[in-house]
């Protein structure tokens, strides 16, 4: 029955001896692995292009001819061409593409951050309400879930129209982004607020603590690791939401419209769309990384269940 007890004790003792967690290079290792994956993907990209060109864009495997024209230069540009396109003007006599994209990023990022803040705020408030009032949770949760099964593309135009009527059409974009971001925050925060050990609550009750004190001193700190998980998801989806929100908004300044325009001219210059896609992906990654950095600064303890 107590077979495993000594080993557990000695593990704990080992932990107690260590002032800080043992120095590890997992951060460096992760970076190297990510770099290696990028290199492999780039090699695969150029390798497929070279292979297809050498075989005249068709191979026959087991009697079936496979069309490889998607790897030609007008369908899938060389990585070097994509990189070079940043320096060339997107329109005749216009600024270089990187300048256009930087402007688009700053427009989209402002909407994404606003949407992130609105969505996180609403998501958090809903989670606190749901955690304290079971009937609200049971009554409203189905609608919260249903809201995410409706395609955002169907709702976005209505939001644009409503905010246009209200005379603040620019707010439509953050609101559409918020529509995507509040959901993970509600779900994860609710789980963090409610997954508190029974004895931890009993402890508070022996102090005759109020519900508010239990929320502030127990449930909220307990939820912080999960809240950060949610915020990281929300950060990336707020960028997606802002890009989608721009499409019906009529605003021409963001990444969404840039993607739409460059897609229209894909056959003439595919590298511009690819350049824009890379930039859009990078914006989401950087937003995610920023939240992860804040998490490392805030969460100094070792959460029981790492999410």
């Amino acid at each position: 029955m107590t077979d495993s007890a000594p080993s557990r004790e000695s593990q704990l003792a080992a932990v107690a001896r260590a002032d800080r967690p043992p120095a590890d290079y997992s951060g460096l290792r992760t970076a190297l692995i990510s770099l290696a994956i990028v290199v492999v993907l780039l090699l695969f990209w150029e390798g497929m292009k070279a292979f297809s060109a050498a075989n005249n864009y068709a191979v026959t495997i087991g009697g079936t001819e496979i069309d490889l024209t998607i790897f030609n230069n007008s369908q899938l540009p060389h990585l070097g061409d994509i990189a070079a396109s940043f320096m060339e003007p997107a329109q005749r006599n216009g600024p270089p593409l990187y300048q256009t994209l930087l402007d688009a990023v700053s427009f989209t990022l402002v909407s994404a951050i606003q949407g992130f803040l609105i969505g996180a705020g609403i998501g958090f408030a809903l989670a606190v309400l749901f955690a304290h009032f079971g009937f609200l949770s049971r009554g409203l949760m189905p609608f919260v879930v249903a809201s995410q099964t409706v395609p955002i593309l169907a709702i976005a135009p209505m939001i644009v129209i409503w905010f246009g009527r209200a005379g603040n059409s620019q707010m439509a974009i953050p609101v559409i982004a918020a529509y995507l971001t509040f959901f993970p925050v509600t779900i994860y925060t609710l789980r963090g607020l409610t997954s508190v050990p029974a004895t931890a609550v009993e402890l508070m009750e022996t102090y005759a603590a109020s519900k508010l004190e239990i929320l502030v001193k127990l449930r909220l700190p307990n939820a912080i690791p999960q809240i950060f998980t949610a915020l990281k998801i929300a950060a990336t989806s707020s960028v997606v939401g802002a890009i989608i929100g721009e499409l019906p908004s009529g605003f021409q300044n963001g990444l969404g419209i840039a993607i739409l325009n460059f897609a229209r001219y894909y056959n003439q210059s595919p590298e511009r769309l690819w350049a824009t896609i890379f930039v859009a992906g990078l914006v989401g990654i950087l937003f995610f990384a920023f939240i992860a950095l804040v998490e490392r600064l805030v969460v100094r303890w070792k959460p029981k269940e790492s999410s």
Partner: protein, 272 residues
Amino acid sequence: MASVISISNVNKIFRAADGLSVTALQDINLEISQGEFISFIGPSGCGKSTLLRVIADLIQASSGTVTVNGKPAAEARKNREYGFVFQNATLYDWRTVIKNVQLPLEIMKYSKEERDARAREMLKLVELQDFAEKYPYQLSGGMQQRVSIARALAFQPKILLMDEPFGALDEMTRERMNNELLSIWARLKDMTVIFVTHSIAEAVYLSSRVVVMSPRPGKISEIIDIDLPRPRGPETRDMDAFFHYTSEVRHALRGTKPVDRSGAVIRDGAIE
């Protein structure tokens, strides 16, 4: 001595979702005196932890009353007369050791200076003053439990309730913790301790009285006075009287009668 806690005719019936009901406590009557160290012992399911939680007003009795100095247990809880130590230390992972000890003091609105002074004093009491700024995960199981005792004592409760606090520790650590607990109790005069355990040696070593409980339905089968001299120490465990009391408790748990040393062991096929 005047009794500080009076438990009279307490019953607790748990109703399960399938409609079956379990009698966790049946007709519990007990008087506990000021400054007493009393243990509840019994096999799993005898209701000892349930009884502790009824006393603490963490769960409500189905019938009967618990009074503390003549007032209902609920009032004692609201007056913050109880310190509670759980089987797992129940430290808050996100708080350092000293912040964990300060938790009750924050809720009870002590000033910042007083919180700090008291928490440091309590950590000294459990000999963890050098670990104040560590996080719980950096401590061994025994150290975590000492922090939780410091936290329970920080606001000087009149009654300390302990629910198998050393159950997860190895035997050597447990005996050391027993000694520390006794010396703390001796220093804090008049503090009443109610201690739940399933270790016979621990119950006898610590207590002035051992309440033996039996399961299904949970009730008190015997109360044994432990008349060993204090202060108690490692030599107490070698006394003939110590063996006598442990065997008396063991027989009470089995529901058998002790026999003299030379006699045959009574075989009854019961637990242990």
